[in-house]
């Protein structure tokens, strides 16, 4: 009865190439891109909204459409990030750093197209890794216990030094503040409420998505309204963009895209980490290994390529532990797994023997979906870029309304809308004293993961009687600690070396602090 894997892959491709499935994918990707572009509606939500629809479909068709929506939504987040400095999904936080700068420099369409191409490549690399290596990689993901997650978060936090263009001290302060905000709500280890200041709704904690919309969308609208400019940026279509951009990307960023995609797939397969962490770390690594790290944050194509290829590679990665062990790698994967279960397909070690045909149709369809995303996304870029030609006095109110509905839709809760506005105002004020929303968001993303990992590690360490052994001496933890230290100090050392050689190092403009 055992079917050959090659045979399964080929029949999977044949299945996903049926006209019906292609139609589903085109629809799914278009819907995904729309949902991803809207601030507040995340990829997880896009997939969750579609699961009930798939109940009435054939298992394979339903999964094909879920996969397409997922890919589209993760990519779609880049559109808003680039055009408006608002990450459409948490995974595209890192895309705002350079994407929005490019828009301001008048290269919006270039940035949009680069993010599309990177997403497609990243997505395909992720799926290929899933297809070829998922059994051994799932075992690797099991090596990550809670102490390793804690150090992974610390490593993620070191990216603050890469993203704070002005002042590292203030960047760190912002990151810690984000972490502190993340502690409001239920204590992950004791299960009791804390930091709620007697205010009951705070028990549910500050949710990532409403706070992110506040940090980016609301405060960004206020920033745009400060001065009396009529448009966000000048925008003119570049002729023959596709050809010139592809050759530029091939020349500049082959290694960046491949490295970021692999990083994305790897971080994606660690349950709980997910797209935001992957794209931020990929961005940091791209900057670190670049010969001219100064250009990042000022509109570097490489920054977009790193962030977008890695977050789409997360999709393939997060399916690795799900397919092999029944453990979803991220919230969206958990929803897809719910969809699988509803169709009577049990993910895990018996998946391939029990329902290999459906599983492989799903996996191979993700490759096709990514390929289809290129024309569909290209068409939609032309549409969304026009927002730059709409006067700001129209754009700003629309964004504010969409932000409100996005914050509300997450949990049908007006509380989240208030969170959005309040954190928007806080982020705006903080940006005036030099604390950017990037580090704040990073802290909020990593905070709950880090705290849970630390708390559980300490419980285990307490039982086993040795904090040193559990926290510091496990091999993977040890490597991550070394990497974090290197990550903090390499920029310092590099700038020191450059100074000594006599190269001019640009001084920070805020000399005071």
């Amino acid at each position: 009865m055992e079917q050959n894997i090659i045979e399964l892959i080929i029949s999977g491709f044949m299945n996903s190439l049926s006209p019906y499935h292609i139609l589903l994918m085109v629809f799914g990707i278009a819907a995904g891109i729309v949902v991803g572009t809207l601030p507040g509606l995340t990829a997880t939500m896009a997939v969750a909204l579609l699961v009930p629809v798939t109940f009435v479909m054939e298992p394979a068709s339903g999964l094909v459409m879920l996969g397409a929506v997922w890919c589209g939504a993760i990519y779609g987040g880049a559109n808003a990030a680039i055009l408006l400095n608002i990450p459409g999904t948490p995974s595209s936080i890192a895309t705002t750093f350079d994407g929005y700068q490019m828009t301001k420099n008048g290269a919006a369409d270039k940035a949009l197209l680069a993010s599309l191409i990177s997403s497609v490549i990243g997505g395909i690399v992720g799926v290929v890794i899933l297809l070829t290596l998922f059994a051994p990689l799932a075992q690797v993901s099991l090596k990550f216990g809670k102490p390793e997650y804690f150090w992974l978060c610390i490593f993620g936090l070191t990216t603050i030094s890469a993203m704070s263009t002005g002042n590292v001290l203030k960047g760190l302060l912002g990151g810690l503040l984000g972490l502190l905000i993340g502690t409001i709500g239920l204590d992950p280890v004791a299960g009791i409420p804390r930091f709620t200041f007697g205010y009951r709704p705070l028990i549910q904690g500050i949710q990532l998505v409403p706070a992110l919309i506040g940090f980016f969308a609301f405060s960004q609208m206020l920033t745009l309204m400060e001065r009396n400019e009529k448009y966000i940026a000048k925008y003119k279509q570049t002729p023959n963009l596709f050809k010139s951009l592809v050759s530029e990307m091939l020349q500049k960023g082959r290694s960046i895209i491949i490295r970021s995609s692999i990083l994305g797939a790897f971080i994606g397969m660690l349950p709980g980490a997910g797209g935001p962490v992957a794209s931020l770390i990929a961005y940091n690594e791209a900057k670190r290994w670049d010969k001219n790290p100064e250009k990042y944050g000022k509109g570097a194509l490489e920054g977009i390529m790193a962030s977008e290829s890695s977050n789409n590679a997360v999709i393939g990665g997060s399916l690795i532990p799900m397919m092999a062990l029944g453990i979803p790698g991220c919230p969206a994967a958990a929803v897809v797994m719910g969809g699988l279960l509803a169709h009577g397909i049990i993910p895990g070690s018996k998946l391939l023997t029990q329902s290999g045909d459906v599983a492989y149709t799903f996996i191979t369809s993700l490759i096709i979906a990514n390929l289809i995303m290129l024309p569909v996304g290209y068409f939609m870029i032309k549409l969304v870029a026009n927002i730059l030609n709409v006067p700001l006095y129209f754009v700003a109110p629309i964004i504010l309304v969409l932000s409100s509905i996005g914050a509300y839709a997450l949990r049908n809760s007006m509380f989240d809308v208030f969170v959005m506005v309040i954190f928007g105002v806080i982020a705006y004020i903080l940006s005036k004293v030099g604390i950017d929303p990037g580090p704040l968001a990073l802290g909020l993303v990593l905070g709950p993961i880090a705290e849970d990992a630390l708390g559980v590690s300490l419980v285990i360490a307490h039982a086993k009687g040795s904090i040193l052994q559990i926290m510091f001496l496990r091999p993977v933890s040890f490597i991550l600690i070394i990497l974090s230290i290197l990550s903090v100090f390499t920029p310092l050392i590099l700038s020191h070396i450059k100074k000594n050689i006599g190269l001019e190092v640009k001084k920070n403009d805020s000399t005071v602090c």
Binding site: L222, I405, A409
Partner: protein, 152 residues
């Protein structure tokens, strides 16, 4: 206001936040209190460093703070807070429609060469189409519920 003064205020605010969270953390038990203590310690140290740097620094950097149209920012914030406060009583669509018109018209106040009637007409068109579009996308296509009140 100078950047230096702003930094000093910020440091004090941060130290205040530390004090509030510290008071609450003291009530927690091990291991729940470890993580908050680390964060509070970190924020306090960084704030102190920034505070000291600014108190003893003699360089004054004039910020571009006075170029900001404060009146506009504050009115956006106030209108938005009123907007979200009344959504749950009156319902999302009616309030959004009015909010969009008010915002669009008032944000166009700088555009001296557009006539008032044009501004109102354009805002009306925009608000109507946005409300209908939002309804189609969110309620019909995506089936995401919007807040309801006694109107719509």
């Amino acid at each position: 206001m100078t950047q230096r003064f702003a930094n000093i205020i910020m440091s004090f605010v941060m130290l205040g936040i530390c004090a509030v969270f510290l008071y609450q953390t003291n009530k927690l038990s091990y291991p729940s209190n470890v993580f908050p203590y680390i964060l509070i310690g970190g924020i306090a140290i960084l704030s102190l460093i920034i505070l000291l740097q600014n108190v003893f620094s003699k360089v004054e950097v004039r910020e571009k703070f006075n170029q900001i149209n404060y009146k506009r920012i504050i009115s956006i914030v106030v209108i938005s807070i009123i907007y979200i406060s009344v959504i749950s009583t009156f319902g999302f669509y009616s309030v959004t429609f009015i909010y969009l018109i008010v915002m669009c018209v008032s944000l166009q106040s700088q555009e001296a060469n557009i006539k008032m009637a044009m501004k109102v007409r354009n805002s009306l068109l925009l608000s109507t189409s946005i409300v209908i579009l939002v309804y189609i996308v969110f309620n019909i296509l995506l089936k995401v519920p919007t807040p309801r009140g006694f109107l719509i």
